[in-house]
């Protein structure tokens, strides 16, 4: 299993949705850490603690965008991801985005 700690491996200041507006965006995170392993069917554990906080646009683009970009079913993406945070509302929100993105396909 690949372990990604967002604060340690990416940034402590996750900002925004699209990469055109900054490399620490949700799209930037998705492209760098999630797309390749998930497309290969590898398990990824994402640790959310340690940053200054998340905007929903970052979370939606990183995780909802993963379902849209790879065209996978929500259940498949959820089965490959392990989400860990001391704020459980973040994990719930991310799961919602994955499910919503899947239902729109």
């Amino acid at each position: 299993m690949i372990v990604v700690n967002i604060a340690r491996d990416f940034t402590r200041f996750p900002v925004g949705r699209y990469i055109r507006n900054g490399t620490t965006s949700g799209e930037g995170f998705r492209e760098r850490f999630l797309e390749i392993p998930i497309a290969k069917g590898e398990h990824v554990k994402v640790e959310f603690d340690g940053t200054v906080g998340y905007g929903s646009s970052f979370l939606e683009e990183a995780f909802g965008g993963l379902v849209r970009k790879l065209g996978l079913k929500s259940e498949v993406v959820l089965s490959l991801l392990t989400l860990e945070s001391s704020d459980a509302s973040i994990c719930e929100e991310v799961k919602d985005y994955i499910l919503q993105a899947g239902s729109r396909q």
């Binding site: 900002v15 925004g16 949705r17 965006s25 929903s56 646009s57 509302s89 719930e92």
Partner: protein, 156 residues
Amino acid sequence: MEFLKWFGQVVVVVLGWYVVNSLTVRRDIEKARRELTADAADAVFSRINHLLQLALSYHCEAHSSTNAFSIKMILQDIGQQVDSLMAVCQDRKLVLTNQRKIAQLRRAVTGHHFDDEHYHPLNQNDELLQEIASAAMDAKISIIQLKYQQFPLEMP
């Protein structure tokens, strides 16, 4: 005979002390748990009010990275405070409801027109502001319910 009588009295006194002491300790722990939960709920309530003010100014004014960071940090603080209530609050369903309300509040405040999507200040009648106010109100009602649920009319 006299000794047995004395010994019996001692046993009764010791047992009585033990029972009363156990009940007192249990009551004190329960009281502390309720107070801790109520204080934490008050703190969350106050943070939501602060967040609401900050979020409304952020969306109605020119983009401010400082305010955006503050909003995200406050949301994170609130989320962690609500999570920690799991350890002390007996009704876990109520804590889960609060977690959902905080997720909805985060989504309302930071889901649109936030960070890189904030191109210009919103009009004061914009629907997003109503959505934020509504999510903040729901979160506040939820945390207030959790607080007062600690003090039922008929205490066990």
